[in-house]
């Protein structure tokens, strides 16, 4: 049963992407922007929403998980496990950057997420006075991460900056690891 599904997923080039981050980081807005939906009507996500994005022949099933404490329920299920993590950081929120770091590092220790790559969207860079990419790297201590492949992109969900680049990084990385042959 599972092997049938695994084969089908490989053939369809399906991936499971978990979208995480503190609340109000802009996760749902990012998803909506990529999907081409209206981004002005976003209210705080209460739970989670699964959306499928077709990107260069790949099917990205994006699990947009609400910004409460990250919950292990979403980390894997019977049919799929997580192939990629997208961590969204609100670059205008300097107050909670420490919380953000703790959460992220705690998440990466979870062994059920081993083998997933990590994309970090430094979001809201369209706002003045936001953190720079280097700042995000140092403040989140990204250089300490040994367990996962990671990549930072400054982005803006409102303008759509770098969102597609982010998706293509995820896909490229998956190509290298999962769909090589």
């Amino acid at each position: 049963m599972l092997s049938i599904l695994r084969k089908a997923r490989l053939k369809d080039k399906e991936m499971r992407v978990l979208m995480l981050g503190l609340d109000n980081a802009g996760k749902t807005t990012i998803v909506k922007k990529i999907m081409g939906e209206d981004v002005n009507t976003v209210s705080p996500t209460l739970g989670f929403i699964i959306k499928t994005i077709d990107y260069e022949g790949y099917k990205l099933n994006i699990w947009d998980v609400g910004g409460q404490k990250t919950l292990r329920s979403y980390w894997r299920n019977y049919f799929e496990k997580t192939d990629a993590l997208i961590w969204v950081v609100d670059t205008t929120d300097r107050l909670r950057i420490d919380d953000c770091r703790e959460e992220l590092h705690g998440l990466l220790e979870e062994e059920r997420l081993a083998g997933a790559c990590l994309l970090i969207f430094a979001n809201k860079t369209d706002v003045d006075g936001c953190m720079t990419e280097e700042e995000v790297v140092t403040l989140l201590r990204l250089n300490d991460i040994r367990t996962h492949q990671w990549h930072v992109l400054p982005s803006s969900a409102m303008t759509g900056k770098n969102l597609n680049q982010g998706m293509s990084w995820v896909v490229e990385d998956a190509k290298k690891r999962l769909f090589l042959y």
Partner: protein
């Protein structure tokens, strides 16, 4: 049943980097060696075991996550391929065959094995891409295969015996070579141009049924016979041969000269042979079919095969319906049936490719679909899976009208033979589907097809209503097989997959358009809820109740998908997802108790659905007893959860559910024992929920009429127990007694007017071991309470069934029956109670007259528990009746079973702690039970149980308060025995003894290192030391010298020097007759301890000698003691010990060996004599050494004429060592006179020597 908690893939991910690095290393080092010029060259021979361990075994671990290998494949596979080619090119130069050995294997064999492992893990299609494609190697590999062929043919004419011998190739080698050849045939040049030599006309090999076209290149002529030969083989090389043949046939140049046509004709002919031709082995047909499937598949995008399609279809279909032998042979193979499905599938796909559809094609397609639908009920899973996949693929290619017809056909088959029946006559009862008439295999196939179709989104949204219906049925599918086992889990699994696919492929609007009313299977749900809510609720039920862990997980995943894709359609969706978690559902008991309760807290509708589920096959009808118990208690919890405690009638739900259970009980057949057990468990669960409910209801009371009704129900059940004999009585007894116990708080609340509701507790808690001291209070409260008529009936009924219940011996049953026995005592009037107690005491005190009548374990239990109630029953001397009964039985009955039962009931009650002094003798005796029967050391069971009892007794001996008189008495009495058992050879006993010793150890003593991070010795002992390790034995030896025990115990122990003797009595059994590891560990610990200091050594030696003296009659101690003394002599330790009288030792040894019939003992004695004799002059600490040695020599001299040859040989061995040693000394001292010649011992078989010869020897060696 429970899914595993830790996942292999997670482990693999974590360790993959190391594994891959190691693999990288070993691939290089195993195959190549340095050539001394800075480079490397290939090894000709490979150490096969090491290589395989380093490569294939590592690769196998990646089976689950083959993608992890991908980044390394471009490096590894070409490297392997190169080495292989290098080997093939150079091997002609040297033909040296090393001596026959299994340790070495030729390199090509090793590489083939490794490559095969890669293919197995990653898939051959991926691996083959990395193999070298240079055309020049085509002939090289081909000739290698042929050569191996010739070799095999020459050495053994027999084809089948050839494998694994000499130069014959193994199947892995053939597989890889053929696979490689198929890859090399990609060569873009015409084969005629690269064939080195054309074969002569007469050299054309003939293959049955194969017509060679003209102008065939030599290469083809070589390849085809080879491939057709191996296509008939049973092994994996068939696949490679098929790939080779397909590749060859599909080549443009080969098609042109007609090879494709010849091959197709050949295969069709092979499938339809003439009568007279001999029938080939079944694998041949499988191979031919797979070849057909292969060419059809690779030609599905072209028109190459169009001409042959109808013919192939006809002959395959003919085969499936054929009545002749060949058809039967083929159809009996599941893989052949699967291949046929694949042939037809590829064929239909090719047909459908053309836009032109004529009548003939349509008929053909329809026939094919009919055939697939039939195959859905095949007996073999792979065939069903293949058929369902084929159907879904074909349906995608059909035009919408025909596609929906296929879906309809599937749905229709799913509705066939499904009956809907009503369980009870009550109007408005929910209909229950009855699936007993359907074929579970067919359902699996159909459900898989449906799920595949949904996964590909084939069915139009208009058909969703029926699909929902089928999926809901499939989710709860279950049937009982002929043997009573549950079948149909695969159907439920497929349904989970289907729902998951449904949730992700259809939009919320499409799904919500389906009205709940139109789905018949959703009838049990309120009509107001949306269909998605129904689906969600059903998934919650499955996730918490299904017996299979993977299905619970599947349901949880489907639920996530459902809620995530369709937000805000399922009530409290997010909470549900968090509650019904992948990990939470892994363990079944947790799923039913925690997950179900959690979901109910979110919304009662989940609870209602789960309750319905519990009352069906997934709860009360489950085959597993433990699961039924768990669901029973979960039922109670859910009812409490669902009760509206704030309303005016907080108990209405409580009452309703009991009525429901009783209603269900009344409809049960007599044979439905499991269901009865389950329902009774539910009943007990509900009543157990009463205290919690009463507390929540805050003052509102359950009216007396209801209580009377419930008590009436219970009495009725007891009456039924008395009158009916059920198939598995122990289950009914267990459940009914639990129910009786549960009713305790109910009775308390009703009859005791002053009883506060806040103090109510579950019946099983009130009667638990810790609280038995409160029993007299409860009893006296009852005595003064008002009496209900129902209570009296209940009591008298209980009294009637009690003898029967208590006589059961099953652990679970005895436990609950004895609790029910306590209930009986509580409910009885004081006079009655005394009568019963006395009667029971009499019963357990006397040993039954015959073996067939045993006192049930329940009696022992209930008596031990009831001891607090018997305080009034003192006999003349002031001792308690209950205790006396136990002691009396112990003294008259030495049956192991009885003793174990007595000890078990003592340790699971308070009686031991209340009256420790009474039972000390009993415990000491229990520690010394060495009853041995035909079944072995049965006494170990008693010792084991006694140790457990002592652990209970000494539970808090470490507390400073626990320094009562009995502590000293008990320690004095038991400590040596416990030390002995802590070192004895049986693992089971040692384990519990270790726990007891740990109780005695003090927390404070830290290792000498004074390192504060070091765990205290006690923690080290309990947490880190296994009971068979060297460290454990070392610690035991040091236990007392290093003050490791509690101070107040140390003072007791130190006053007696005999502790070492006690320890040694057990230690020797581990060091001599334990298993090998144990012997090694314990001996190592012993020698280390002895070498530490002279005091230690002396302590051990004198303890051994003392045991020799005191335990003369017990062979089980004496023999190992002698052996260990001899061992210490050999180790050169015993000689160094101070103050041992050698003469005394010799004397005790002689006594031990006197007139014994035990060979082991005599031989052990001889070894000790040898040791003593040899120590003359070397043992400087001993007393009377010379005299002892002289005696020992004499004994040896006497024993050499022992009647048993084995003993005589042992003596001679010992003398040889002795004399040899003396010679060596003499040689060293330069007195080489050669007068006493030890070599006189050689050359004679002393086991059969004559008396005179022996006599001469004795005199010569001065052994008199």
């Amino acid at each position: 049943m429970d899914a595993s908690e830790n996942d292999i893939d997670v482990y693999l991910h974590k360790h993959s980097k190391i594994l891959l690095d190691e693999l990288d290393q070993s691939l290089v080092t195993c195959l190549r060696k340095p050539d001394g010029r800075g480079g490397t060259r290939i090894r000709r021979w490979v150490r096969i075991r090491e290589t395989m361990k380093a490569t294939c075994a590592v690769l196998d671990q990646f089976q689950e996550l083959p993608q992890l290998l991908d980044p390394h494949l471009p490096k590894w596979i070409p490297y392997l391929a190169e080495s292989y080619l290098e080997y093939l090119q150079t091997r002609h130069r040297q033909k040296r065959v090393p001596e026959q050995t299994n340790l070495l294997a030729p390199l090509d064999y090793a590489i083939s094995r490794i490559l095969y492992s890669f293919c197995k893990v990653r898939g051959e299609k991926v691996i083959v891409r990395f193999l070298n494609v240079e055309t020049k190697y085509l002939e090289l590999i081909l000739s290698a295969v042929e050569e191996a062929e010739v070799h095999a043919g020459k050495e053994k004419k027999d084809f089948f015996a050839e494998r694994d011998s000499g130069d014959g190739w193994s199947w892995e080698q053939r597989y890889i070579a053929l696979l490689w050849l198929s890859h090399l045939l990609f060569a873009p040049f015409d084969l005629s141009t690269i064939s080195s030599a054309d074969l002569d006309e007469e050299g054309v090999p003939s293959i049955a049924g194969f017509n060679w076209p003209a102008n065939v290149p030599g290469l083809t002529m070589k390849v085809i016979p080879l491939a057709t030969k191996y296509i008939a083989s049973a092994g994996k090389e068939r696949d490679a041969a098929k790939a080779l043949l397909v590749r060859l046939a599909m080549r443009r140049d080969m098609q042109q000269i007609g090879i494709l046509e010849s091959l197709v004709q050949w295969s069709l002919k092979s499938l339809r042979p003439q009568r007279e031709t001999e029938i080939e082995n079944p694998y041949f047909y499988i191979g031919v079919l797979s070849f057909l499937a292969g060419i059809l598949r690779s030609s599905s995008e072209t028109s190459d095969m169009n001409a042959y399609l109808p013919t192939i279809f006809e002959s395959v279909l003919e085969l499936s319906t054929g009545e002749d032998t060949i058809s039967k042979i083929i159809m009996s193979q599941s893989s052949a049936r699967k291949m046929m499905l694949k042939v037809i599938r590829s064929l239909v796909v090719s047909l459908l490719r053309s836009s032109r559809r004529d009548m003939k094609t349509t008929v053909l397609v329809e026939n094919a679909i009919g055939y697939f639908l039939e195959s859905l009920s095949d007996n073999d899973t792979p065939v069903r899976l293949s058929a369902s996949k084929s159907l879904s693929i074909i349906t995608l290619k059909l035009d919408p009208d025909m596609a929906s017809q296929v879906v309809e056909a599937v749905l229709e088959s799913l509705n066939r033979n499904v009956l809907w029946s009503k369980t009870s006559a009550k109007s408005g009862a929910k209909p229950v589907r009855d699936l007993s008439a359907v074929n579970p295999l067919e359902w699996h196939g159909l459900m898989m097809t449906l799920s595949h179709l949904l996964y590909r989104r084939s069915p139009p949204a208009s058909q969703l209503s029926d699909i929902f219906h089928s999926l809901l049925l499939g989710l709860t599918f279950e049937q009982r097989g002929v043997s009573g086992a549950s079948v149909g889990s695969n159907v439920r699994d497929a349904a989970c997959f289907g729902i998951w696919a449904l949730a992700r492929r259809y939009t919320t609007d499409e799904l919500l358009a389906v009205s709940t009313k139109s789905v018949y299977a959703a009838k049990s749900h309120p009509a107001t809820s949306s269909i998605l809510q129904v689906l969600g609720t059903e998934l919650v039920t499955t996730a918490s109740l299904d017996p299979e862990g993977n299905i619970r997980r599947g349901a949880s995943a489907a639920l996530q998908e459902l809620i995530g894709r369709h937000p805000d359609t399922v009530e409290h969706g997010i909470g549900v997802v968090q509650c019904v978690d992948y990990h939470a559902v892994a363990r079944r008991s947790r799923a039913v108790q925690e997950v179900a309760t959690g979901a109910t807290k979110l919304s009662p509708q989940y609870g209602e659905a789960v309750i319905d589920g519990i009352l069906s096959w997934r709860g009360i009808g489950d085959l597993d007893t433990g699961s039924r118990r768990a669901t029973g208690s979960a039922f109670g919890t859910l009812i409490v959860q669902l009760s509206n405690t704030a309303s005016e009638t907080p108990f209405s739900r409580f009452e309703e559910s009991i009525d429901l259970v009783m209603d269900r009980l009344s409809t049960l057949q007599k044979r439905q024992v499991e269901e009865r057990h389950g329902l009774l468990a539910c009943f007990a669960g509900v009543v157990d929920g009463f205290p919690e409910l009463a507390q929540k209801a805050q003052g509102k009371l359950l009216d007396q009429a209801t209580v009377r009704k419930i008590l009436g129900y219970i009495s009725g059940i007891l009456e039924d127990c008395k009158n009916n004999e059920y198939r598995r009585p122990e289950l009914i007894v267990e459940a009914a007694s639990r129910l009786v116990v549960s009713s305790l708080p109910l009775i308390q609340a009703t009859t005791l007017s002053e009883f506060s509701h806040d103090k109510l507790e579950k019946g099983s808690d009130v009667l638990s071991m810790e609280k038995t001291n409160g029993l007299p209070d409860i009893a006296s409260a009852f005595a003064s309470a008002q009496q209900l008529a129902e209570m009296e009936t209940l009591t008298s009924r209980l009294r009637d069934v009690m003898p029967n219940w208590l006589s059961r011996n099953e652990q679970e049953t005895a436990d609950s029956a004895s609790a029910a026995g306590l209930m009986l005592l509580l409910l009885s009037s004081p006079e009655e109670r005394i009568k019963i107690l006395e009667q029971w005491a009499k019963l357990i005190a006397a040993k039954p007259g015959s073996r067939s009548t045993v006192t049930g374990n329940g009696y022992f239990h209930v008596m031990a528990m009831a001891q607090p109630l018997s305080h009034t029953l003192q006999d003349v001397s002031g001792s308690n009746v209950v205790c006396n009964a136990f002691l009396e039985r112990w003294s008259v009955d030495s049956e192991v079973e009885t003793r174990v039962a007595i000890l078990h009931s003592l340790l699971s009650s308070r009686i031991l702690k209340d009256r420790p002094t009474v039972f000390l003798d009993l415990l000491a005796e229990g520690l010394n039970d060495y009853t041995t029967t035909a079944r072995g050391d049965e006494g170990s069971l008693v010792r084991f149980q006694t140790l457990k009892a002592i652990a209970v007794l000494w539970g808090d001996i470490g507390h400073p308060t626990a320094q009562a008189d009995w502590v000293e008495a008990s320690v004095r009495k038991l400590i040596f025995n416990i030390l002995r058992l802590s070192a004895e050879k049986l693992d089971r006993v040692r384990r519990v003894a270790k726990d007891v010793v740990a109780l005695l150890m003090s927390e404070s003593s830290v290792d000498e290192s004074k390192d504060s991070n070091q765990p205290s010795r006690k923690t080290y002992f309990t947490k880190f030391l296994s009971f068979s390790s060297k460290g454990y034995f070392a610690l035991l030896l040091n236990l007392i010298p290093k003050d490791a025990l509690h101070p107040h115990i140390m003072t007791i122990v130190n006053s007696d020097e005999n502790w070492m003797a006690g320890l040694m009595a057990g230690f020797v059994s581990s060091a001599d007759t334990g298993n090998e590891e144990l012997v090694i560990a314990s001996r190592a610990a012993l020698t280390e301890y002895c070498e530490e200091s002279p005091e230690n050594l002396q302590r051990v030696c004198s303890a051994l000698v003392q045991n020799l003296k005191t335990c003369q009659s017990e062979d089980r101690i004496i023999v190992p003691t002698l052996e260990i003394i001899a061992f210490l002599f050999y180790a050169g330790l015993f000689q160094r010990s101070q103050g041992i009288s050698y003469r005394g030792l010799c004397l005790h040894t002689q006594k031990a060996g006197y007139k014994t019939g035990n060979v082991r003992k005599v031989i052990a004695c001889i070894k000790v004599y040898g040791g003593i004799a040899a120590s003359a002059g070397t043992a400087n600490g001993g007393v009377n050494v010379e005299a002892g040695a002289k005696d020992a020599r004499k004994r040896l001299g006497a024993l050499i004429s022992h009647p048993w040859p084995k003993v005589r040989s042992a003596v001679v061995d010992e003398i040889w060592g002795l004399v040899g040693g003396e010679e060596a000394i003499r040689a060293a001292e330069g007195e080489d006179e050669g007068e006493v010649d030890g070599h006189g011992l050689t050359g004679v078989d002393w086991a059969s020597a004559e008396k005179s010869q022996i006599k001469a020897l004795v005199t010569e060696l001065k052994l008199e």
